[in-house]
Amino acid sequence: MHVLDKTQMERLEAKAVNSAKTRQPLYAPRKKIFPKRASGSFRRFKWLVMAITLGIYYLMPWLRWDRGPFAPDQAVLIDLANRRFYVFFIEIWPQEFYYVAGLLMMAGIGLFLITSTVGRAWCGYTCPQTVWVDLFLVVERAIEGDRNARMKLDAGRWTARKLVLRVSKHAIWLVIAAATGGAWILYFADAPTLIGDVFNGTAASVAYVTIAVLTATTYTFGGLMREQVCTYMCPWPRIQAAMLDENSLTVTYNDWRGEPRSRHAKKVQAAGQPVGDCVDCNACVAVCPMGIDIRDGQQLECITCALCLDACDGVMNKLGKERGLISYATLSDYNANMAVVTAGGSGPVNPSLVRTADSTFSARLAHFHIRKIFRPRTFFYMSAWTAVGLALIYSLLTRDRLEINVLHDRNPQFVTLSDGSIRNGYTVKLLNMIPEPRTIVVTMQGLQGAEMSVVGSDLPAARFFAIAVEPDRLNMLKVFVRQPAGEVRHAAQTFKFRVEDRASFESDEYTATFNAPEIAR
């Protein structure tokens, strides 16, 4: 038997697909973020926005609005049981829901307008996720301290102190979450009554379920998931890129003046190396609620809350340098400035091109100008937004509060009576859309010789009748219209039902058809 030695054996290029060297995690654990408290003008603005938005949300259901004895006195009420929506002086019936659709259109176009102008301002300032996370962070800081204290506490072993701090933090979070869920349901029923019922245990089970669900989501999203919601769950970060263009203001790290960054600027400078304004202090990263580094450029995770801007401005103030190393800037300005400081992209950022000899900025550098806001895109959004708004206002000012709708009986379309006259049946719906009772008059116009009678009433057959309608209700009548045989002109004649309130001079008309057999002519 011939035996090969080791060197003669053929070697195959093969590796196990699951070898430990090549295995990589497919699932990433969440990295904890401990945002540091920022201070500055944007932080103050965010406090203001937070106070206003939370104030509106929690207090709105308690506002009262007198609508007289026949309607609820809650300023904002979505009365699902009665299908009425009350917003201050406006009362909306379900068929007027297009007002809500119009408002949603305005909200959508407004969002486009804001985004194309100042980037993701919605995300950074007013999104409920941002506002509630901010609120939860206030609680977290008040109990556990600022960034360093929180990191230390988190890394430390479980002690009685840690337990007390954690339990109280989560308890307060849960209270806020419950208040959030509780406030939501108050928009759907009389707030003082409902809140009493909720605490008595006599409220509807749907109220408790809603509170429970919204408490759970508020607590989970605001306290536990935070930036994960924005990064992974929200579609808007993906969509908003379509609204942004090179003239939109976004939170930008101006690396044309920041680079090359250095922690030991003087030493490096002494060694004759170029130094940018960024001292690599990481203040911008520490305050970021998303835990990202704005110096990596624009990224999906950035909600443009501008807290890094505040943090960096604080550092620049201390260093005696111009603020705005991180600033709201447009991509076009940024690109222009990058071209200037890299001498047209031919090399790395050269700080000597940023400043002149007397250490002011080079005159060639671009700065944001307000007219960049006014461009065709924003004009289009603005005019679309205004057009929808004006259409809504016009429609609101001219809308009917007294309406008539008529359904012609289809089967049978007409009935021949003993005396040869022709009868048609109609379902007449009278809509009294104000919260006051009134007496209205229904008249027939046209259809010679015909008279109408109301089924189930003692009213005599006539060409008009007066009827009392309840406040804020639809009154449905069955009306028979009868035309003598000799008066029938066509197989299908049109005539009008007219309804009017002789006190307020409101009126409405409906053009109906009267059918007759061919033989009756």
Binding site: K15, T22, Q24, A28, L417, S418
Partner: protein
């Protein structure tokens, strides 16, 4: 293929999968997402245990909660029946005119009667109760056997010319083809047609009136207004069960057709007949 590889452009490691030089970046899912996925899987398993789910040979697993959509419907139907109970009891006890006089009861009876009508009556009277040739229109104000709620109730309960019900409404017009001459039939046809419209040959009217007085007044009355006791139609109005016009009338005189309506009391029961009577009365022609 399986060695660690970092994408040069993005600096992100790849999964090691490669297709024609295209590599897949490894952007790991967040772990909570995966946990959520497993929770939904667990939920699905628990759901199939709690509710009917797995198909077996003859049926499906029942589920430990014992839910069944049939039972759910039964419960809802029982609840609906219970809700109707008050009205059903009142309809059982009251007469049709009492029902018609009570707004709530009438509304209930009209709705219930309408439903019964759509199942049992539309085959002859039409879905809008508009009738057709030989089947009366129930919307109009012309009633062969009377149009009060009681009379309608009687008609529905016991039918018309329905042999197996002793209380049925009974009448028959003799075939006058055997009794009078064709000329007389043409004359009486012209006369009857003239009562509600025009006829071609006015000279037939006068002899026709004589024929009518001799043969027809017993049932249709001196003035041809009919007799509801006998179900004899009013011949002076604009409504014709079969067809208008002297020819059609002559046809009916020579060899009359007689409609038959079944008695419904046995099939529908007292309450439903009452509801139907109130419904038919509400159609617009009730007396």
């Amino acid at each position: 293929m399986s060695s660690e590889h970092i994408d040069e452009v993005s600096g992100i490691s790849t999964t090691g999968h490669e297709w024609d030089g295209i590599r897949e970046l490894n952007n790991p899912l967040p772990r909570w997402w995966v946990i959520t996925f497993y929770i939904t899987v667990a939920w699905a398993v628990a759901y199939t245990i709690a509710y009917p789910a797995w198909p077996m040979l003859s049926s499906a697993t029942k589920g430990v909660l014992g839910y069944s959509s049939r039972n759910a419907v039964k419960i809802e139907l029982a609840a609906a029946e219970a809700a109707k109970g008050k009205y059903v009891a009142a309809i059982q006890q009251k007469t049709v005119s009492e029902i018609a006089a009570d707004d709530a009861l009438r509304e209930f009876a009209v709705a219930a009667g309408g439903a019964t009508f759509k199942v049992n009556c539309v085959q002859c009277h039409g879905s809008g109760a508009q009738g057709s040739k030989g089947f009366p229109n129930l919307n109009d104000d012309d009633w062969l056997w009377g149009g009060t709620t009681e009379q309608i109730q009687q008609t529905i309960a016991h039918g018309i010319r329905f042999a197996s019900d002793p209380d049925t409404r009974q009448s028959e017009m003799p075939p006058f083809g055997d009794i009078i001459t064709p000329e007389q039939i043409a004359q009486v046809g012209a006369y009857v047609a003239s009562l509600s419209g025009k006829v071609q040959d006015a000279s037939l009217i006068e002899p026709g009136a004589k024929v009518f007085a001799e043969n027809c007044v017993a049932c249709h009355g001196d003035n041809a207004k009919g007799n509801k006791e006998l179900g004899a139609p009013n011949l002076t109005d604009a409504i014709w069960l079969y067809a208008p016009g002297e020819t059609a009338i002559a046809v009916q005189v020579r060899a009359p057709k007689h409609g038959v309506m079944p008695a419904w009391i046995g099939r529908l029961g007292e309450s439903k007949v009452k509801e139907l009577a109130v419904y038919v009365h509400s159609l617009g022609g009730g007396e």
